[in-house]
């Protein structure tokens, strides 16, 4: 087990190294305007002086080594345009807590609602009219088929209205960190997609599992229905999902571009787009790096978790079989 994890971690580090190098190469292709606040007004010599001071006139290998070195020390550089002269770690440090806070809430809600919904739907497929399954499917299809922008706006609109002259919902339309009520709508918006996602996959895998022979055997040996669902079906249906859960968790925590701009939440979601629009090269570089790291971590945790829950995955036995 330990050997397997070490191997996966090493492999992830190699992937990370390659991504960093490619990222560095791509950024050298970006226009140099991205390093200046007021490029148009500067003279040729001023530009040269600035570039030299940033170390961008050095030979490429030297720059690359310096880039690695900075990263190793956790230094992501300094923003040039977005907030001139401020360290990028500081910018992100201010924004990430908001996204994580909302993300965590929505994560709890989507797991707490999505998983039971999936179980309910799967169990309802065995009943005569399958009402639960049908209703759930309608919900999932709507959420999957309608562009998310539509239901986000709908939630914001419906939730912030007052009805029949009374404040039934009347929730704040915009996010305000100090007002707990203003969390409700954004968290709901963030959760609703993942609720449908978890419910859909769990239902599907549970239905798959409950048609398998070993479930028939469990029934034949007299295990009560509820115990079959808990001990056999749910556990086994969860295994194929486990691999993707860390990834979806990490991305929930990183915030959603659309929801954050809709409720004007000062989170991570919109930062990358802003950085690209404003041509802030170092900020783009840092953000791309962060997202790449998150993806890799998600896959890594998924694989490790999978190995823990599924005994059929043997660790480190066959060299290079994967």
């Amino acid at each position: 087990m330990a050997k397997y994890i070490v191997k996966r971690v090493l492999r992830s580090l190699i992937t990370m190294f390659i991504i960093i190098t490619i990222l560095f190469a791509l950024l050298r292709l970006m226009p140099i305007e991205g390093y200046f606040e007021n490029f148009d007004k500067m003279s040729e010599t001023q530009i040269q002086v600035k570039l030299t001071s940033l170390g961008l006139m050095d030979p490429l290998p030297k720059q690359l080594l310096r880039f690695y070195n900075q990263l190793l020390h956790g230094d992501l550089g300094v923003s040039n345009v977005y907030r001139r002269g401020v360290a990028i770690t500081e910018i992100i440090g201010e924004k990430i807590p908001v996204s994580i806070k909302l993300g965590l809430m929505s994560l709890c809600i989507s797991l707490a609602v999505g998983l039971p919904l999936g179980i309910l739907m799967a169990r309802s497929t065995r009943t005569k009219y399958k009402i639960g399954d049908r209703l759930g499917t309608v919900f999932i299809v709507i959420i999957q088929a309608v562009p998310s922008a539509v239901y986000h706006i709908l939630i914001q609109f419906a939730g912030s209205q007052t009805y029949v002259g009374k404040e039934i919902f009347g929730l704040p339309m915009l996010f305000d960190e100090s007002n707990p009520k203003s969390y409700i709508l954004p968290v709901l918006s963030l959760s609703i997609g993942s609720i449908a996602y978890y419910a859909m996959w769990l239902r599907r895998y549970m239905v798959d599992e409950s048609n398998k022979d070993y479930i028939r055997l469990a029934r034949a040996k007299g295990v009560p229905g509820g115990a079959i669902s808990r001990r056999h079906v749910f556990r086994n249906a969860f295994v194929p999902m486990v691999q993707y859960i860390p990834n979806s968790i990490l991305f929930t925590l990183m915030g959603s571009l659309y929801v954050e701009s809709l409720y004007s939440i000062p989170g991570m979601g919109g930062l990358l787009v802003t950085a690209i629009k404003r041509q802030d090269n170092t900020l783009v570089q840092a953000l791309v790096l962060i997202y790449a790291v998150i993806s890799i971590l998600g896959l890594l945790f998924g694989d490790i978790l999978m190995g823990i829950v599924d005994p059929r995955i043997s660790f480190a036995k066959k060299e290079g079989s994967r």
């Binding site: 022979d213 070993y214 007299g222 009560p224 056999h232 005994p311 059929r312």
Partner: protein
């Protein structure tokens, strides 16, 4: 051969089972009556789709959701199983009274649970043992079914077992329920030929040790000859002939039984094609008229196409559903092949 007291343990009376499929009704079991005797082992033979599996699944409430019992009764222990509706009703029967061994051991175990836990689940449900004592019982059952090193095997997962070993585990689970009746649904079909005999021996040993009544379902006459006291031949959802093993093998009365025995590969002559029954089984979506086998029977009588034959008694233990046994019927000789089974020296141990 049979138990000294011929007590009927399980009795099917005029059982009818139907399935609804896309608005159509399929009549899978057409009025079957059969008594299973305490302590015997009876084999239900028939080709694929003849309804053997459906027939026994009725005794445990394991029919697929679109299947239902449309008539008749199944009597067990003074109760009519056809009146059971809910899972709670069935929990009194499943495992506790009747246990089942399925065809494919590769898929009938939960891949994510150790085999020890899977057997223990049955032990805890039906033997009322808990914790270490249940575990101890599992160890004993494991050695019972011929799995060495039970302490290590207890902690292993199904994928660490071979097919034959897994079938031993499945049998262990069935036995751990301490049932009175053990149903084996094609227990050796998915196994290697070399393993088949071992598994049959094991089932026989378990039957003896735990005083079980066993019902085999199979299309393999070799298996039947090996294990069965009695044989019931099933065709198109009906039992057409039932009798002791010797009676059915050496003195078959129904044309379908003749045809079935004639197609035993052991009877084939070198360089000659093996005997095969012509035609296909009837479509059970349509109502079957007369003798279901008549269209495939070269010796069919006119009445075979018109009216369903009743069960005729050949001997107190031997019955067949064919007009040939009617006193008015013309004398029809069974085909060469099946008549000479004994003369040709083909023993029951095919």
């Amino acid at each position: 051969m049979q138990s000294s007291e011929n007590n009927v343990i399980l009795s099917f009376q005029d059982l009818n089972v139907k399935f609804t499929l896309r608005g159509q009704t399929l009549h899978a079991i057409r009025g079957v009556s059969l008594d299973v005797l305490q302590g015997e082992s009876i084999a239900i033979v028939g080709e694929s789709g003849s309804g053997k599996s459906v027939f026994v699944k009725c005794t445990m409430g394991l029919l697929d959701a679109n299947g239902y019992i449309s008539g008749g009764s199944i009597l067990y222990n003074g109760q009519d199983l056809t009146t059971f509706r809910t899972d709670d009703d069935w929990l009194k029967i499943r495992g506790k009274e009747i246990a089942m061994v399925f065809q494919d051991p590769m898929t009938s175990l939960n891949p994510l649970k150790t085999i020890g836990k899977q057997i223990q689940e049955a032990v805890e449900l039906h033997q009322g043992l808990k914790g270490p004592r249940a575990k101890q019982a599992v160890m004993e059952i494991l050695s019972d079914v011929g799995i060495d090193d039970p302490v290590r095997r207890y902690k292993q997962y199904p994928h660490e077992f071979s097919g034959g070993m897994r079938q031993r585990v499945v049998i262990a689970i069935a036995v751990a329920c301490r049932p009175r009746i053990l149903i084996c649904d094609e227990p050796t079909t998915a196994l290697d030929v070399t393993i088949q005999a071992q598994i049959l021996e094991l089932i026989k040993a378990m039957q003896k040790k735990y005083n079980l009544t066993t019902i085999y379902i199979t299309h393999d006459l070799g298996v039947v000859a090996n294990v069965a006291d009695r044989i019931a031949v099933m065709y198109a959802g009906d039992i057409v002939e039932v009798g002791s093993c010797d009676e059915v093998f050496y003195d078959p009365k129904h044309p379908y039984t003749w045809a079935l025995l004639s197609s035993l590969p052991q009877l084939g002559v070198k360089n000659e094609p093996l005997y095969a029954i012509q035609g296909t089984p009837p479509n059970l979506f349509h109502e079957v008229r007369g003798d279901a086998f008549a269209p495939r029977n070269p010796r069919a009588l006119k009445i075979d196409f018109l009216e369903r034959p009743p069960m005729f008694d050949v001997s107190p233990t031997h019955k067949a559903r064919t007009w040939l046994l009617d006193p008015r019927a013309p004398k029809v000789e069974p085909p060469e092949h099946s008549r000479s089974l004994r003369e040709k020296g083909v023993s029951r141990r095919v």
